[in-house]
Amino acid sequence: MKYIDEFRDGAIAKKIQARLHAEAQPGRLYSFMEFCGGHTHAISRYGIGELLPHNVRMIHGPGCPVCVLPIGRIDLAIQLALERGAIVCTYGDTMRVPASGGLSLVRAKARGGDIRMVYSGADALEIARREPGREVVFFAIGFETTTPPTALTIRTAQQEGLKNFSVLCCHVLTPSAITHILESPEVREFGTVPIDGFVGPAHVSIVIGSAPYEHFAEEYRKPVVIAGFEPLDVMQAVLMLVRQVNEGRAEVENEFTRAVNRDGNLHAQALVSQVFELRSSFEWRGLGEVPYSALKIRSAFAEFDAERRFGLGYQPVPDNKACECGAILRGVKKPTDCKIFGTVCTPENPVGSCMVSSEGACAAHYSYGRFKDIAVRVEVAA
């Protein structure tokens, strides 16, 4: 697969690994946050942690759209399916995210809710066309990557004059989340989360470009390296971050130049601002209410806004008390710091959202990383 396989080459990984070991200064501790779940996933799946020098530590960030979805938002989708009789279309990722009352979309479906997994918002539109007698709601989640397709879906629905289609918009914004983390007391005041730099978003940046990160680099004096999601991209980005730290720089660098430029996809940005506008505040799981961190549907498209169409009122719901997702999403804790990790909370019965998506820090550690600190003995055949 062109532009994929080349970036998974284990031989080159060894070379980058060698450079990293050569350049990371022994007396120094490097802590980098990979904002995106995509990077978290690559680190776990390819075993990148093993390849990094011991003094380079990766901190998982909140960049997993599923992980940051608060209970109250899932509750709204379930309410539409179970109480309002709507067909709720959603990406596979959201199906198992815990909601109130022990429910999740998959469990609501088992209770008779008409909840359908779609691959694309266009599929939800198609369902609405085919079943004109039913209300069809697209439960739309995601960062800037996923927002333009949703915008397109809404604009198409309007152009076609669909009368039974709406979107429950849960699109959130990356820069606001990064700012929120940088502004958090753990980072600013206590220094309990020492962040020396960020591995910046890959696919989000295709859409928004690299410019929006320049602010952090300057304002908070943090190096940012935008990197692709392939394992060599990640290793290279870490190397570039180590170099910035070593050299005392705090710049936005772009490792992912093959897909990201400074301005991003202007066409997609225009479409997004045609359909959406900023929400004054939005609850993130783990981060709480974050001002201007999400989008809502503009009033010109009000009839396609499920919140207005069904008169939905948002009801925040506290996470499970034992769950440390919040602290993990802010980089304050590790999955194994959670008392119920791997016992009460497992991928089969996730208590927190970080155990749901394979990009979630807890799920990634559970599925890929549990072997650590356990010796493996192989008696190889003669």
Binding site: I4, Y46, G47, Y91, G92, R96, Y119, P231, F371, V380
Partner: protein, 347 residues
């Protein structure tokens, strides 16, 4: 009942109705004109509530059952009918047995086209004949429209184990070789490619096939085969975890050794799936004594269904029973059980 007393089934335009499952004359006609016609063999012709069967004297019996509920019913490389034959034959074969007979229980949804049913039953009969394992007894029920999904087929197979053969998922020991008979993920990808809203074009066909011939060749080649299992639902990853758990061992795999067709890899990339968790219906995992591995591998490669057989890793001693893998990239990770259902992802 004289043949000429009733109109023949209208297989072209007819549909399954509740009467076909009510046990009366309509049911008898469906069985006679559709099922018996396709499966025709001396046992089924007995026409009794069960079949009386001949088995070798003194043999140990193996019995396995599987329900087949695939959607869509027809896919590249097979359909629910052939699958229901292969799946159960393979489960019998994975016990080290020679499969001899199949029983088939059909649960039909009211309104299902008889033409499709015939296509499925004919494919099932062809698979059964090709494998030399006849369907000797059966049952048909009809459920109301909306309470089924076209056709469900539960098949049960019996077979016999030769003296001296002892195969079980509990037999793996540290140091044993883990062998895989070929590329993984084709069945799952072929089926997924036909799912509404996922649909993509691929030339990948299901690998659905009966593996008892391959098993016979392996057992003939060596007495060092300890575990046999077909990595169906849950894929290779889950099957290896099952064995690790049953045998109380761990495993260490080498990612680079596991063969995956480029199209399967591409489909998995596109949908956010991992081929290790995608279903197979014509592959097997064998765990052998270390000194038997080469002979077994040679026997596999000499058989058409094992041409791409490889050694993918070793059994380890591990109280945590982790299946681990050295990634092609150079790292190491756990290969966990499938958790929940494998859903396409966007993130």
């Amino acid at each position: 009942m004289k043949k000429d007393y009733i109109r023949p089934l209208d297989i072209r335009h007819g549909r399954v109705d509740m009467g076909h499952g009510a046990g009366g004359r309509a049911a008898a006609q469906l069985i006679e004109e559709l099922f018996l016609a396709a499966f025709d063999n001396e046992y089924l012709r007995q026409g009794d509530d069960g079949a009386a069967l001949a088995i070798p004297v003194g043999a140990r019996l193996v019995m396995a059952t599987d329900g087949h509920v695939v959607s869509p019913l027809f896919f590249a490389g097979g359909d629910v009918g052939s699958l229901s034959v292969h799946g159960t034959i393979n489960d019998v074969a994975m016990c080290g047995a020679v499969p001899l007979y199949l029983a088939a229980s059909f649960i039909l949804e009211e309104g299902f086209p008889l033409a499709d049913l015939k296509r499925i039953v004919d494919s099932m009969a062809a698979a059964s004949r090709a494998a030399g394992v006849p369907v000797v007894t059966g049952d048909t029920k009809v459920v109301e429209k909306g309470k089924g999904d076209g056709v469900f087929i539960s098949t049960t197979g019996v077979g016999v184990v030769a003296a001296g053969v002892h195969i079980s998922g509990a037999n793996a020991r540290p140091g044993d070789a883990v062998l895989l008979s070929g590329t993984i993920g084709e069945h799952g990808v072929a089926v997924l490619s036909k799912r509404e809203s996922l649909d993509f074009e691929t030339t990948v066909a299901s690998d659905s096939v009966a593996l008892h011939g391959l098993v016979a060749a392996m057992l003939a080649a060596s007495d060092g085969v300890r575990v046999l299992r077909d990595p169906t639902r849950g894929g290779l990853a889950t099957t290896l975890n099952e064995i690790a758990r049953q045998s109380n061992v761990g495993m260490l795999l080498e990612e680079a050794a596991i063969p995956v067709l480029p199209q399967v890899e591409a489909a998995c990339e596109l949908l956010g799936l991992d081929p290790l968790y995608v279903a197979n219906e014509g592959k097997l995992v064998a765990i052998c004594a270390p000194d038997a591995a080469e002979a077994v591998l040679a026997a596999m490669r000499a058989h058409p269904l094992g041409a791409n057989a490889v050694r993918i890793g070793s059994v380890t001693e591990d109280p945590h029973r982790f299946v681990q893998m050295e990634t092609s990239f150079g790292g190491r990770r756990v290969v966990d059980w499938l958790s929940g259902e494998q859903l396409p992802r966007i993130c």
